[in-house]
Symmetry: C2
Subunit: 269 residues, 2 copies
Amino acid sequence: MNKVRRVERIVALTKILVDMPGRLFSLGYFSELFGAAKSTLSEDMAAIKAAMQQFGLGTLETVAGAAGGVRFVPVRAERAVNCLLQDLAARLAEPERIIPGGFLYMTDILFNPALMVQVGEIFRRQLGRLEPDYIMTVETKGIPPALMTARAFDLPLVIVRQGSKVTEGPAVSINYVTGSSKRIQTMSLPRRAIQAGAKVLVIDDFMKAGGTARGMNDLAREVGVEVVGTGVLVATAEPAEKLVQDYFALLILHSVDQYAKTIDIRPAL
Amino acid sequence: MNKVRRVERIVALTKILVDMPGRLFSLGYFSELFGAAKSTLSEDMAAIKAAMQQFGLGTLETVAGAAGGVRFVPVRAERAVNCLLQDLAARLAEPERIIPGGFLYMTDILFNPALMVQVGEIFRRQLGRLEPDYIMTVETKGIPPALMTARAFDLPLVIVRQGSKVTEGPAVSINYVTGSSKRIQTMSLPRRAIQAGAKVLVIDDFMKAGGTARGMNDLAREVGVEVVGTGVLVATAEPAEKLVQDYFALLILHSVDQYAKTIDIRPAL
């Protein structure tokens, strides 16, 4: 193809890299796409990286060697992270979110894609060092934050189902006791969903006593995979002792007073 | 802040616009962020738009007037759409996906974020003219394609639940009959999830007889919203008569032969 002007190449490079966070692209791929020398592309990458860092939009990571290349890592500036968490806390503290029983209506926030993209990138930023092979969650409301975390890592998401579904083939099931209401539930994972020996990061929307997260830990052990960490969007301050250790929460829910109509929720970072 | 060099500004502009497809950004916002004149930014936008169109990566749309600005529209080139659908069809035709009973295991594809981002953009491309206010789906496997479609439109996603959940407040429920197995099920939508009078686009992973999609239509009518269209990732060729009219499918499943271990699935576009 014809030679491409530098600015057009840089726009297309930025778009392609940003579109698939964590995905490694070889310089050879771009060299063919743009008809440009690898040295030219390396200069382009340096300019893209500098611009992203200047504006706190993430960074580029270069992997050397034959299987190497470049990838976009969506690590937002601390200022942007704090801003988002303050904004989420303010929205979740709106009194009309209180549902009889002292529950908090969070569904609109959880199913807002633009917010969950950012939440996923924060989990990537804070938990990336755990180097998981899969992200895992349980249906239903954990799916959006977990899917967007999987996107930020460029990893597959594994869904634990409530009960057992005939359309997913042979599955491993466990019973678990919900931490707060002490009910016995079943959760299951299709055999083919995950490779034994893999490392998984559990992401969920809400943690009270931690019974569900504990259930996912037990189920993971049953299928021969290791849970390397647990991230939740909101954890309650009470009970302070959860059924899982070492979880990471973005927001802490201190209290919901359904009579005074007040909610105390604050960023944990 | 200091003046920003053109190439850095263009990288940051591209990243910010691409990150939130469909979101309208005012030139004033960028003018402040970069310390650049609006005329300069208009030139930058023209360069970004030209580069994106050249590589079939989408386009920029300018909205004139005081409330105007610019937004990224993720309309991929036809070639890229065909490529993705061919790839999905090939993966879904792998014989080991057949589950006793003639079901097709699709969960790994559905929960692959990079694939679903692209599926969402195809639904945006093909159904954008319907101008919905919300995307709607039913838990569980419809969530990833629907969430990524909502992302491509910059719209909220509304989740219809199986049964009725106490943590979501007052809800409207209906009973519906699944089209293929003729079982009676309940689905519900929290009252506060959607504004009456809104236009919704239903997105789901799979349609056989269309009973679930029909149920969502009935539920939508019950809460006073209008279904302007239905998009599914996979529809079966049989029955040819579905319980909803005017649905749009990306792939057509012609047959699953569990004894011969063959699957016939093809792009519908």
